[in-house]
Amino acid sequence: MRETKAFQKIYTRITQITKATCSLQAEDVGYEELASINGRLAQVVKIMGDHVTLQVFGGTEGIPSNAEVMFFGHPPTIKVGEDLAGRFFNAFGEPIDGGPEVEGEERETGGPSVNPVRRKQPSELITTGIAGIDLNNTIVTGQKIPFFSDPDQPYNQVMAMVALRAEADKIILGGMGLTNDDYLFYKNVFDNAGALDRIISFVNTTENPPVERLLVPDMALTAAEYFAVEKNEKVLVLLTDMTLYADALSIVSNRMDQIPSKDSMPGSLYSDLARIYEKAVQFPEGGSITIIAVTTISGGDITHAIPDNTGYITEGQLFLRRDSDIGKVIVDPFRSLSRLKQLVIGKKTREDHPQVMNAAIRLFADAANAKTKLENGFDLTHYDERTLHFAKEYSEQLLAIDVNMNVDAMLNTAWKLFERHFKPAEVSIREELVNKYWVKEH
């Protein structure tokens, strides 16, 4: 994507430099066109007469006012093809795994939206083996859903686990602001799992300049569109961490003197995020793009502009929580929600799925009430005590993120737990299901 044409005009007089942008006088420049400034990649973000402002992805540190500026004549592109599989790239789409350049068709990133009447209603589930997701918050192909996670929670481990277990044809990781340690963690996990042939990674680490991150989601999603549209594949895109992406947006808008809205975020944050998340789609020909993202939040505050705008865009959200009773991280069944699960549970999964899911969560909620009672020094009833026992086992055997089983096994486990602690009437599941699935007396 960096080749330049012969006899290209070279500009050498930059009139303004900020931490993220450079401005100069130039002619015949297209909006969103790429340029290089002393070899650093930049993109046109504003044109005023012959005055052009560029956002410099690599940062402007050390750029002189007489730097050489060349315009490429096209917006950011990526080469797409089967060769992408198994490779690691930086935010510009250049290999960082020591392998050769990718051969393939060159495509503009951040292309147009799918016509809504050409979309298909999502109807196929995508399993992860994690009961907190598959059982309680089933994810459907074509869905977009983030983990709202505090920075100290093991979201990268969960994402890696999802990447390895998910039944998808291609898994594309878009890493934004990953620490080098986390990048090596992903690389290591993918290498060792032998699943590399279906994983593609675009990575921007904290060692790279922050503005570079802005390219990552478009790279990942343009590659995803190639596999979903041309190859009719089920593609899962993992984006981590979208909060750092939004932070990069605010840096650029700040340097361009735009008036910030809530929490210093640009006024266009909603549209900027929606443009990315809405790439999630189920195509009629069978291909799909599903997006699972991470949005780190601060102290569980979801009213901050980033999680708030995200919540309005995505189809639900997942919360991780450390369950002190079992000392493990679980997917919080109360705050998490998958809006599209109704499209598949009990339809694509076993008939008892919706009822079992609701009954277990209701009992888990009863346990939470019992716990509050206990903490406030009230006496517990026999039922309260049984819910507490149930909750512990439910957490350990189902909700913990290290559990890995298929949906039928999850349902069977839930029935076993019901049977161990409760009478059918207390579980209040439809009678014909109880007759069919309640584990018979020992």
């Binding site: 297209g30 969103e32 009213t303």
Partner: protein, 590 residues
Amino acid sequence: MSAAQNYTAGKITGIIANLVIVEVDGPVSQNEICFIQSESVKLMAEVIKVNDNKAYVQVFESTRGLKPGTLVEFTGAMLEVTLGPGLLSRNYDGLQHNLNTMEGLFLKKGDYTRALDEDCIWPFKPVVKAGDVVQAGDFLGETIENQVRHRIMVPFKFEDRYTVKMVAEEGEYEAGNTIAVLTDRKNNEFDITMIQKWPVKLAVRSYREKPRPFKLLETKIRTIDTLNPIVEGGTGFIPGPFGSGKTVLQHAISKQADADVVIIAACGERANEVVEIFAEFPKLDDPRTGRKLMERTIIIANTSNMPVASREASVYTAMTIGEYYRSMGLKVLLLADSTSRWAQALREMSNRMEELPGPDGFPVDLPAIISNFYSRAGYVYLNNGETGSITFIGTVSPAGGNLKEPVTESTKKAARCFYALSQQRADSKRYPAIDPIESYSKYIEYPELQEYLAKHVSEDWVGKVMQVRNILIRGKEAAEQINILGDDGVPMDYHQILWKAEVIDFVILQQDAFDEIDRSTPMERQHYMLDKVLEVYHTDFSFESFEEVNPFFKRIINSFRQMNYAVFRSDDFNRHEKELHNIIEERKTA
């Protein structure tokens, strides 16, 4: 009226995202539409500011690749919609381009498909004769569109009075054929077809009078119809944090409400939600006509990933189409999800034009824009005495779920019904999550509506509704007391009051939007159930201890809910009612 004219041209001098600055060689007007001659396609844009010889235009497309110096042609017209038979059951983008006739999987820049098919043949029956004097909005004839009587009117743009010179005989005509010829006072002739155009930013005023609305609009949703009713021609809004059920509620209203035409503007929201409408509406039956819901519905889809500038246009497009059908004497229901996205689009543009911002960066005229838009709804008497209405309900997505933000506050001033969705109710799965105490309907205070309800529901209806509100407030207070003082620290009465309020909550307020029967409750049934619930309220029960209160009322609620799930007055319904009666008798104090 359409003499050939030389329109202004210009060339691009600046580009910031979708704001483009054009140097012009002649006059331009605010909101004038222009086309940017980009390489092979023409991109549509609208003038939003003029400064000297510079026009600031918002482009309804991505501006990627545009260069300064590119030619721009102005059209002399504002953004207009095309009105005529064939709008119903169409899916349009925010600028009224037909989404179904666009080619390919992806939206292409500048792929502007036609809104209506001019060659489509419609049966036409004239209702005027040569020599009649007519004015804008008067009916010239009628056709049938999806079983709706679609009037062909004198175009709204026609000011003054005209004489009918010729009108076509009853028969079949293409929409683009001349069906009448009108002459003005100077004897100029005008050919009229079934199709006309109207600029979206201007309200259609071809009616005689806009009285205060007074007729109940049944939504079949109990917490709305019973507690906070909306009226034909009324306005309402639904603010709520994400996950509180705004969209499910709006979809429920769009499916069940007693309207002739339903227009849904999906403004800056999720594409999969629109896909749900596309998938479901062609299958669902319209309970009023037995035909498919899609046949009375028009969808304006500008989802969050479609061009931001057309978000604003999308709500105006929807409103103008609504006004067109209202002018035919129809009951129109207009839903917009969500108006916050439209306000955000305004904020983005205002920011790019470097205007001084108001609160939260929104433009300072946001309240004026919102109230002006809401004012276009309403109940009208047409010139011929017939009536029509546009009922408008918008959702608002308050940032951080905080209702003290500019869009919610501005809307609160403009809309007369306020349906506050409560996070707490949503969390405890009490759907629809409309907070019964926070929410209000100003209409229930209108003597006109009170009179209507007394006549059509029952004499003392409003009194009962007020009583229910009061019980809910007292129930809330009792719950607070119990929380503070403990179960045994309050008199037994408190438990009874709390649970009597819970009966109302579970039986009247909560409604299962996914249950075949429960989701739609006609007014007659709402009246019956409200009386039943009040009967429980007025009964004194005796309990030995507070521990007996909860299980007893849970049984009452259970029987009530079984009634809600049964066909009205069916055997099942009667059986559960009897069951309820028996439970009440157990503890009734003589």
